[in-house]
């Protein structure tokens, strides 16, 4: 019954995403251009280094990491903040709240169809290409299992962060400024633009305590380090799971108290 409700929402999202006639090609070209840019940038960066290995990473390690990171970010791209902000500004949120499904779940399942399409159309092809090009530099085994599990958590954590930022729009009456700050914070502190391994140690210690690094850094460490022991893997997963639990409760709580605020003020 309720599975049907969700699956039909997901199907609608998939259908919608496939309507993009040329968009898929344009997006792919954009992603390739981005890869081209970071390839040349990091090649030039490594050319200036004294040794081919910097902070335990070679140029090809860095590239593999960054390619995966960008396609992870790509697949997890969400419009939740814009949706929420607009429906708050227009007052439509009052109607959305009448649905027979919690607002948070509705936003999640409404958007996830697009994420699934992106996973299939961008992440999977990218991953396959990387495996072929890197000629088996990444060993596949149980690490794949951990990666998939962790990437799933990343998607949900990313959603919770977006949902909380969307909730902030209830107070600010503005979307662009709030959203852009979220985008750059997530990009920088998740390790999507510069691998966290290259961060200065003092900053690295702080960044590893934040939830953002669990979005990109955690799943990628699990995938790219098949040599990790089970113990190491669970140590990596622990902060992610902790953040998942914290954000699960906090995002719901924050939304509910904010909602009370706007209903009291009469929208």
């Amino acid at each position: 019954m309720s599975i049907k409700k969700y699956s039909s929402m997901i199907r609608a999202g998939i259908l919608d995403a496939l309507q993009f006639r040329l968009a898929l090609i344009v997006t792919t070209v954009g992603n390739l251009l981005y890869l081209l840019l970071i390839y040349h940038l990091w090649k030039a960066v490594f050319a200036s280094a004294d040794s081919p290995v910097v902070n335990g990473m070679t140029f090809s390690d860095t590239m593999i990491y960054l390619v995966f990171a960008s396609s992870l970010m790509n697949f997890m791209e969400m419009w939740v903040v814009w949706f929420m902000g607009r429906s708050i500004q227009s007052g439509e949120i009052a109607c959305d709240l009448l649905r027979p499904i919690s607002y948070r779940s509705w936003r999640f399942f409404d958007g996830i169809g697009e994420n699934i399409v992106k996973f299939v159309t961008t992440f999977l092809p990218t991953a396959i290409v990387v495996f072929i090009v890197s000629k088996g530099a990444i060993k596949l085994g149980s690490n794949l299992l951990f990666f998939v599990f962790s990437a799933g958590l990343s998607l949900v954590i990313n959603f919770y962060i977006n949902f909380m930022v969307g909730t902030i729009c209830m107070y600010t009456d503005t979307i662009w400024g709030i959203n852009i700050m979220k985008v750059v914070i997530v990009e920088l502190f998740s390790g999507a633009t510069v691998p966290i391994a290259f961060f200065p140690d003092s900053i690295k210690q702080i960044v590893l305590l934040l939830p953002f690094q669990t979005i990109v850094n955690t799943p990628l460490q699990l995938l790219l380090h098949p040599e990790f022991s089970l113990m190491e893997r669970f140590t990596m997963l622990a902060p992610q799971i902790t953040w998942f639990v914290i954000l699960f409760f906090v995002s719901d709580w924050f939304f509910n108290i904010s909602l009370r605020r706007i209903t009291v003020n009469g929208g």
Binding site: V29, L33, S48, G177, I178, V184, E187, F198
Partner: protein, 268 residues
Amino acid sequence: MNMKKGILFYLRIYRKIVVQDIKSKMSYRADFIISMIGMIFTNICGALGFWLIFQRFPSIDGWNYNEMMFLYGFSLISATPAQCLFDNNWNLRIVVYDGSFIKYCFRPINLFFYYMSEVFDVKGLGQFLFGIIAVAYSWNKLSLPFHWYSLPLFIFMALSASLFVIALLNLASATCFWLVHSFFALQLSNTLRDFAKYPITIFGLTIRNLLTFVIPVAFMAFYPSMPFLRETQVQWQTYLTPVFGIFFLYISYKVWMKGALAYDGTGN
């Protein structure tokens, strides 16, 4: 009846609209302040990315941290006119798809002008401010010479470079007149603009030519910065910046207008 309208006519209207627009924006102070903070914050994080790289690596293909900051600052400055004056491009697809673009077609003035005049994006000034600070900081750190002509030349070069940014934005937004989901074209144009922040010497010859002649992103910061950054290594492309910029802007204007005039008001 001859209704030839000169540049003064347009300037007067533009000034009037912008003054009113800014006045009304000031009444939404929270939005204004948060957008401004968001803009500067984005620029700072962009710079932070460079800073992080340079914590572990001494240079990028012979370009040091300060030189990179100069290029970054220049690219922000040259992006300012597009951000401030042509920001309504970002709304174009929305008004085209919901059919309200038609309301711009009934005025006896230039359609492109009328549409763009509607929005003046103040937060672009935040970007401008950060760009100026970045350039001034690196200019000082690099001890670059400051001649009597440096400032006018810098303004001239920044303005020339800005034409490319405007043109690229026009072209990307105009795609909505033909495509059903044109947001991706705007995203692509943003990705392309990322190339402007880096010295094109890090690329191979093919890409360099591509970025010069096909998608002239290298003119947004790299070529026009050379007279200041590497006075002795100025290439012929630098001198071409203004001419090529006007040409590219003209093309983008023509494409935009062609799309707008083909618009039938039904949203495709």
